[in-house]
Protein backbone atom coordinates (compact mmCIF):
# COMPACT_ATOMS: atom_id res chain seq x y z
CA UNK A 1 0.00 0.00 0.00
CA UNK A 2 1.27 3.48 -0.84
CA UNK A 3 1.66 6.25 1.71
CA UNK A 4 -1.12 8.12 -0.07
CA UNK A 5 -3.71 5.52 0.90
CA UNK A 6 -6.90 7.07 2.17
CA UNK A 7 -7.60 6.51 5.82
CA UNK A 8 -10.44 7.26 8.24
CA UNK A 9 -9.80 10.11 10.63
CA UNK A 10 -12.20 8.74 13.25
CA UNK A 11 -15.61 7.16 13.75
CA UNK A 12 -18.15 8.34 11.16
CA UNK A 13 -21.10 10.50 12.15
CA UNK A 14 -24.25 8.41 12.55
CA UNK A 15 -26.33 10.27 9.91
CA UNK A 16 -23.53 9.71 7.35
CA UNK A 17 -23.70 5.99 8.11
CA UNK A 18 -27.50 5.78 8.12
CA UNK A 19 -28.05 7.61 4.85
CA UNK A 20 -25.91 4.95 3.20
CA UNK A 21 -27.03 1.76 4.90
CA UNK A 22 -30.73 2.67 4.97
CA UNK A 23 -30.81 4.19 1.50
CA UNK A 24 -34.45 4.61 0.55
CA UNK A 25 -35.53 3.03 3.80
CA UNK A 26 -36.51 -0.21 2.14
CA UNK A 27 -34.71 -3.53 2.38
CA UNK A 28 -35.03 -4.92 -1.12
CA UNK A 29 -32.99 -8.10 -0.73
CA UNK A 30 -33.58 -10.77 1.87
CA UNK A 31 -36.69 -12.56 3.10
CA UNK A 32 -37.63 -9.91 5.62
CA UNK A 33 -39.23 -6.94 3.91
CA UNK A 34 -39.44 -3.68 5.80
CA UNK A 35 -40.29 -0.20 4.64
CA UNK A 36 -39.03 2.35 7.12
CA UNK A 37 -41.41 4.95 5.75
CA UNK A 38 -44.26 2.81 7.11
CA UNK A 39 -42.90 3.10 10.60
CA UNK A 40 -44.86 5.80 12.36
CA UNK A 41 -42.85 6.25 15.51
CA UNK A 42 -39.33 6.77 14.19
CA UNK A 43 -37.73 9.76 15.79
CA UNK A 44 -38.41 13.03 14.04
CA UNK A 45 -34.81 13.42 12.92
CA UNK A 46 -34.63 9.96 11.40
CA UNK A 47 -37.89 10.44 9.54
CA UNK A 48 -36.54 13.67 8.11
CA UNK A 49 -33.42 11.87 7.00
CA UNK A 50 -35.21 8.98 5.37
CA UNK A 51 -37.82 11.15 3.71
CA UNK A 52 -35.11 13.42 2.38
CA UNK A 53 -33.12 10.49 1.05
CA UNK A 54 -36.26 9.08 -0.54
CA UNK A 55 -37.10 12.29 -2.30
CA UNK A 56 -33.48 13.16 -3.03
CA UNK A 57 -33.01 16.21 -5.17
CA UNK A 58 -36.70 16.86 -5.58
CA UNK A 59 -36.83 18.17 -2.05
CA UNK A 60 -33.21 18.32 -1.05
CA UNK A 61 -31.92 20.70 -3.65
CA UNK A 62 -34.10 23.48 -2.34
CA UNK A 63 -33.24 23.24 1.34
CA UNK A 64 -31.10 26.33 1.08
CA UNK A 65 -32.86 28.03 -1.81
CA UNK A 66 -34.85 30.36 0.40
CA UNK A 67 -33.24 31.75 3.50
CA UNK A 68 -35.03 29.28 5.80
CA UNK A 69 -31.97 27.10 6.21
CA UNK A 70 -29.39 29.79 5.92
CA UNK A 71 -30.66 31.56 9.01
CA UNK A 72 -31.03 30.06 12.42
CA UNK A 73 -34.62 30.31 13.59
CA UNK A 74 -35.56 32.35 16.63
CA UNK A 75 -38.28 30.07 17.95
CA UNK A 76 -38.27 26.42 18.93
CA UNK A 77 -40.90 25.35 16.41
CA UNK A 78 -38.72 25.25 13.33
CA UNK A 79 -38.21 21.50 13.40
CA UNK A 80 -41.91 20.65 13.58
CA UNK A 81 -42.64 23.12 10.83
CA UNK A 82 -39.93 21.62 8.63
CA UNK A 83 -41.21 18.10 9.31
CA UNK A 84 -44.73 19.14 8.34
CA UNK A 85 -43.55 20.79 5.12
CA UNK A 86 -41.33 17.85 4.26
CA UNK A 87 -44.02 15.26 4.87
CA UNK A 88 -46.45 17.26 2.84
CA UNK A 89 -43.95 17.63 -0.02
CA UNK A 90 -43.15 13.91 0.11
CA UNK A 91 -46.84 13.03 -0.06
CA UNK A 92 -46.73 11.43 3.38
CA UNK A 93 -49.47 11.68 5.99
CA UNK A 94 -48.66 14.65 8.16
CA UNK A 95 -47.65 13.54 11.62
CA UNK A 96 -49.75 14.47 14.64
CA UNK A 97 -46.95 16.15 16.54
CA UNK A 98 -46.38 18.50 13.64
CA UNK A 99 -49.98 19.34 12.83
CA UNK A 100 -50.68 21.95 15.49
Amino acid sequence: MSSRDLSRSGPAQLPDVLERILDKGIVIAGDIQINLLDIELLTVKLRLLIASVDKAREIGIDWWDGDAFLSRPRGQNGLEERLRRLESAAGLPVSDQAKS
Binding site: Q13, I21, D23, V27, G30, D31, I34, I39, W63, S71
Partner: protein, 256 residues
Protein backbone atom coordinates in the same frame (compact mmCIF):
# COMPACT_ATOMS: atom_id res chain seq x y z
CA UNK B 1 -34.73 -21.65 21.35
CA UNK B 2 -36.04 -19.22 18.78
CA UNK B 3 -35.62 -19.78 15.05
CA UNK B 4 -32.34 -18.65 13.51
CA UNK B 5 -32.04 -16.47 10.44
CA UNK B 6 -29.00 -15.43 8.43
CA UNK B 7 -28.01 -11.75 8.25
CA UNK B 8 -26.13 -10.65 5.10
CA UNK B 9 -23.63 -7.77 5.38
CA UNK B 10 -21.98 -7.94 1.99
CA UNK B 11 -20.34 -10.06 -0.68
CA UNK B 12 -16.61 -10.30 -1.46
CA UNK B 13 -14.44 -12.23 -3.91
CA UNK B 14 -13.89 -15.72 -2.46
CA UNK B 15 -10.46 -15.90 -0.81
CA UNK B 16 -10.11 -12.12 -0.24
CA UNK B 17 -11.32 -12.26 3.35
CA UNK B 18 -11.32 -15.01 5.97
CA UNK B 19 -13.57 -15.42 9.01
CA UNK B 20 -10.49 -14.98 11.24
CA UNK B 21 -10.11 -11.37 10.04
CA UNK B 22 -13.55 -10.66 11.53
CA UNK B 23 -13.11 -12.63 14.78
CA UNK B 24 -13.07 -9.51 17.00
CA UNK B 25 -15.68 -7.61 14.98
CA UNK B 26 -19.05 -7.19 16.75
CA UNK B 27 -22.03 -8.59 14.83
CA UNK B 28 -25.36 -6.74 14.49
CA UNK B 29 -26.85 -8.59 17.47
CA UNK B 30 -23.63 -8.51 19.48
CA UNK B 31 -23.86 -12.28 20.04
CA UNK B 32 -23.23 -14.50 17.04
CA UNK B 33 -19.86 -14.45 15.27
CA UNK B 34 -19.42 -12.81 11.87
CA UNK B 35 -18.39 -15.45 9.32
CA UNK B 36 -17.31 -15.59 5.69
CA UNK B 37 -18.90 -18.40 3.66
CA UNK B 38 -17.76 -19.14 0.09
CA UNK B 39 -20.21 -19.96 -2.69
CA UNK B 40 -18.18 -20.62 -5.81
CA UNK B 41 -16.15 -17.56 -6.79
CA UNK B 42 -17.89 -15.20 -4.35
CA UNK B 43 -18.22 -15.28 -0.56
CA UNK B 44 -20.93 -13.93 1.72
CA UNK B 45 -20.21 -12.13 4.98
CA UNK B 46 -22.96 -13.19 7.36
CA UNK B 47 -23.91 -13.88 10.94
CA UNK B 48 -26.73 -15.81 12.59
CA UNK B 49 -29.54 -13.73 14.08
CA UNK B 50 -32.55 -14.63 16.14
CA UNK B 51 -35.71 -14.27 14.08
CA UNK B 52 -37.40 -13.08 17.26
CA UNK B 53 -35.21 -9.98 17.03
CA UNK B 54 -35.01 -9.64 13.24
CA UNK B 55 -38.53 -10.24 12.00
CA UNK B 56 -41.07 -8.06 10.19
CA UNK B 57 -43.16 -8.05 13.33
CA UNK B 58 -40.43 -6.85 15.68
CA UNK B 59 -38.03 -4.86 13.48
CA UNK B 60 -40.14 -1.69 13.32
CA UNK B 61 -40.04 -1.41 17.10
CA UNK B 62 -36.28 -2.11 17.16
CA UNK B 63 -35.64 0.48 14.50
CA UNK B 64 -37.55 3.03 16.56
CA UNK B 65 -35.05 2.52 19.34
CA UNK B 66 -32.26 4.92 18.43
CA UNK B 67 -29.74 3.07 20.62
CA UNK B 68 -30.53 -0.29 18.99
CA UNK B 69 -30.37 1.37 15.58
CA UNK B 70 -27.00 3.00 16.22
CA UNK B 71 -25.48 -0.19 17.64
CA UNK B 72 -26.69 -2.27 14.68
CA UNK B 73 -25.76 0.37 12.11
CA UNK B 74 -22.22 0.73 13.47
CA UNK B 75 -21.73 -3.04 13.62
CA UNK B 76 -22.99 -3.41 10.06
CA UNK B 77 -20.73 -0.63 8.81
CA UNK B 78 -17.78 -1.93 10.86
CA UNK B 79 -17.97 -5.34 9.20
CA UNK B 80 -18.14 -3.75 5.75
CA UNK B 81 -15.14 -1.51 6.45
CA UNK B 82 -13.03 -4.57 7.31
CA UNK B 83 -14.10 -6.15 4.02
CA UNK B 84 -13.40 -2.90 2.15
CA UNK B 85 -9.89 -2.69 3.60
CA UNK B 86 -9.30 -6.29 2.48
CA UNK B 87 -9.86 -5.41 -1.18
CA UNK B 88 -13.48 -4.66 -2.07
CA UNK B 89 -17.04 -5.49 -1.11
CA UNK B 90 -20.58 -5.28 -2.47
CA UNK B 91 -22.36 -3.76 0.53
CA UNK B 92 -25.93 -4.76 1.42
CA UNK B 93 -28.44 -2.63 3.34
CA UNK B 94 -29.07 -2.78 7.07
CA UNK B 95 -31.35 -5.67 8.09
CA UNK B 96 -30.95 -7.85 4.97
CA UNK B 97 -32.14 -11.06 6.62
CA UNK B 98 -32.86 -14.54 5.23
CA UNK B 99 -34.93 -17.16 7.03
CA UNK B 100 -32.05 -19.64 6.75
CA UNK B 101 -28.39 -19.79 5.69
CA UNK B 102 -29.51 -22.00 2.78
CA UNK B 103 -31.87 -19.27 1.51
CA UNK B 104 -29.03 -16.72 1.74
CA UNK B 105 -26.68 -19.06 -0.12
CA UNK B 106 -29.26 -19.62 -2.86
CA UNK B 107 -29.61 -15.86 -3.35
CA UNK B 108 -25.83 -15.42 -3.66
CA UNK B 109 -25.39 -18.38 -6.02
CA UNK B 110 -28.15 -17.16 -8.33
CA UNK B 111 -26.49 -13.75 -8.65
CA UNK B 112 -22.85 -14.84 -8.84
CA UNK B 113 -22.24 -13.35 -12.30
CA UNK B 114 -23.72 -9.93 -11.45
CA UNK B 115 -21.97 -9.84 -8.09
CA UNK B 116 -18.62 -10.63 -9.75
CA UNK B 117 -19.20 -7.83 -12.26
CA UNK B 118 -19.81 -5.31 -9.48
CA UNK B 119 -16.88 -6.67 -7.43
CA UNK B 120 -14.65 -6.15 -10.45
CA UNK B 121 -15.86 -2.53 -10.70
CA UNK B 122 -15.26 -1.73 -7.02
CA UNK B 123 -12.02 -3.69 -6.52
CA UNK B 124 -9.26 -1.42 -5.20
CA UNK B 125 -11.70 1.50 -5.15
CA UNK B 126 -13.55 3.30 -2.37
CA UNK B 127 -16.38 5.77 -2.02
CA UNK B 128 -15.58 9.21 -0.59
CA UNK B 129 -18.35 11.45 0.71
CA UNK B 130 -18.05 15.22 0.31
CA UNK B 131 -20.33 17.57 2.21
CA UNK B 132 -20.50 21.25 1.33
CA UNK B 133 -21.36 23.35 4.40
CA UNK B 134 -22.16 27.04 4.69
CA UNK B 135 -22.30 29.14 7.86
CA UNK B 136 -25.83 30.17 8.79
CA UNK B 137 -26.69 33.72 9.80
CA UNK B 138 -27.11 34.53 13.45
CA UNK B 139 -30.77 34.69 14.39
CA UNK B 140 -31.87 38.24 13.59
CA UNK B 141 -32.97 40.29 16.54
CA UNK B 142 -36.59 41.35 16.41
CA UNK B 143 -36.34 44.75 14.80
CA UNK B 144 -38.85 47.51 14.83
CA UNK B 145 -39.59 47.18 11.14
CA UNK B 146 -43.19 46.28 11.90
CA UNK B 147 -43.79 49.52 13.75
CA UNK B 148 -41.91 51.70 11.24
CA UNK B 149 -43.54 53.28 8.25
CA UNK B 150 -45.03 51.00 5.64
CA UNK B 151 -42.46 52.12 3.08
CA UNK B 152 -39.45 51.45 5.33
CA UNK B 153 -40.83 48.02 6.17
CA UNK B 154 -41.26 47.11 2.50
CA UNK B 155 -37.77 48.35 1.61
CA UNK B 156 -36.21 46.36 4.43
CA UNK B 157 -38.10 43.24 3.37
CA UNK B 158 -37.04 43.62 -0.25
CA UNK B 159 -33.44 44.14 0.79
CA UNK B 160 -33.47 40.92 2.82
CA UNK B 161 -35.09 38.95 0.01
CA UNK B 162 -32.51 40.23 -2.48
CA UNK B 163 -29.68 39.26 -0.09
CA UNK B 164 -31.12 35.77 0.31
CA UNK B 165 -31.44 35.31 -3.47
CA UNK B 166 -27.87 36.50 -4.00
CA UNK B 167 -26.58 34.15 -1.32
CA UNK B 168 -28.51 31.17 -2.74
CA UNK B 169 -27.06 31.96 -6.18
CA UNK B 170 -23.52 32.07 -4.78
CA UNK B 171 -24.05 28.69 -3.10
CA UNK B 172 -25.51 27.15 -6.24
CA UNK B 173 -22.53 28.33 -8.30
CA UNK B 174 -20.11 27.05 -5.67
CA UNK B 175 -21.84 23.63 -5.55
CA UNK B 176 -21.65 23.27 -9.34
CA UNK B 177 -18.00 24.33 -9.49
CA UNK B 178 -16.99 22.04 -6.62
CA UNK B 179 -18.83 19.05 -8.06
CA UNK B 180 -17.16 19.60 -11.46
CA UNK B 181 -13.71 19.73 -9.82
CA UNK B 182 -14.31 16.59 -7.73
CA UNK B 183 -15.65 14.70 -10.74
CA UNK B 184 -12.45 15.38 -12.66
CA UNK B 185 -10.46 13.21 -10.27
CA UNK B 186 -13.18 10.58 -9.67
CA UNK B 187 -14.18 7.45 -11.58
CA UNK B 188 -17.89 8.07 -10.94
CA UNK B 189 -20.06 10.52 -8.99
CA UNK B 190 -23.43 10.31 -7.22
CA UNK B 191 -25.57 12.93 -5.51
CA UNK B 192 -27.27 12.26 -2.21
CA UNK B 193 -30.04 14.34 -0.70
CA UNK B 194 -28.95 17.44 1.15
CA UNK B 195 -29.89 17.04 4.80
CA UNK B 196 -31.70 19.78 6.68
CA UNK B 197 -29.75 21.37 9.56
CA UNK B 198 -30.76 21.05 13.19
CA UNK B 199 -32.42 24.24 14.38
CA UNK B 200 -29.39 25.49 16.26
CA UNK B 201 -26.74 24.12 13.90
CA UNK B 202 -24.24 26.74 12.88
CA UNK B 203 -23.91 25.41 9.34
CA UNK B 204 -26.30 24.28 6.61
CA UNK B 205 -25.45 21.55 4.11
CA UNK B 206 -25.69 22.50 0.44
CA UNK B 207 -23.84 19.62 -1.23
CA UNK B 208 -23.94 15.92 -0.29
CA UNK B 209 -22.02 14.01 -2.91
CA UNK B 210 -20.25 10.67 -3.23
CA UNK B 211 -17.32 9.88 -5.50
CA UNK B 212 -15.84 6.55 -6.48
CA UNK B 213 -12.03 6.82 -6.42
CA UNK B 214 -8.98 4.55 -6.41
CA UNK B 215 -8.10 3.53 -2.83
CA UNK B 216 -4.69 5.21 -3.19
CA UNK B 217 -5.97 8.44 -4.78
CA UNK B 218 -6.36 11.34 -2.35
CA UNK B 219 -6.98 14.01 -5.01
CA UNK B 220 -10.55 14.62 -3.75
CA UNK B 221 -9.20 15.25 -0.24
CA UNK B 222 -6.72 17.84 -1.55
CA UNK B 223 -9.35 19.41 -3.81
CA UNK B 224 -11.72 19.78 -0.84
CA UNK B 225 -9.01 21.50 1.20
CA UNK B 226 -8.18 23.85 -1.70
CA UNK B 227 -11.85 24.79 -2.24
CA UNK B 228 -12.30 25.35 1.49
CA UNK B 229 -9.38 27.79 1.43
CA UNK B 230 -10.79 29.55 -1.67
CA UNK B 231 -14.23 30.00 -0.12
CA UNK B 232 -13.23 30.70 3.48
CA UNK B 233 -14.33 34.33 3.12
CA UNK B 234 -17.87 33.19 2.28
CA UNK B 235 -18.18 30.89 5.29
CA UNK B 236 -18.14 27.83 3.03
CA UNK B 237 -16.19 24.64 3.68
CA UNK B 238 -16.01 21.10 2.33
CA UNK B 239 -15.79 18.02 4.55
CA UNK B 240 -14.64 14.65 3.24
CA UNK B 241 -15.95 11.40 4.82
CA UNK B 242 -14.90 7.80 4.27
CA UNK B 243 -13.43 5.78 2.75
CA UNK B 244 -16.81 4.01 2.53
CA UNK B 245 -17.83 0.79 0.80
CA UNK B 246 -19.23 1.79 -2.61
CA UNK B 247 -22.84 2.08 -1.39
CA UNK B 248 -23.75 4.65 -4.03
CA UNK B 249 -22.16 2.73 -6.88
CA UNK B 250 -23.84 -0.66 -6.63
CA UNK B 251 -26.71 -0.98 -9.13
CA UNK B 252 -29.92 -1.54 -7.14
CA UNK B 253 -30.84 -4.60 -9.24
CA UNK B 254 -27.78 -6.49 -7.95
CA UNK B 255 -29.06 -6.40 -4.39
CA UNK B 256 -32.70 -7.23 -5.04
Amino acid sequence: MSAKGAYLYGVVVAGDLGSEALADQPSVDGGHAVRVVSYGRVAAILSDVSLDEFDEATLPARLNDIEWLERSARAHEGVLERALDAGGVVPFRLCTVYRSEEALGQFVVEREAELLRVLDRVAGRVELGVKGLVARDEPEADTDTQSGTGLAYMQERQRRQADARQRAQLIRTCADLANARFKESAIAAAMMAVRPPDDNAEEAMFLNAAYLVRADDDAVVHEAAALTADYAGQGIRFEVTGPWPAFNFVPPEVAS
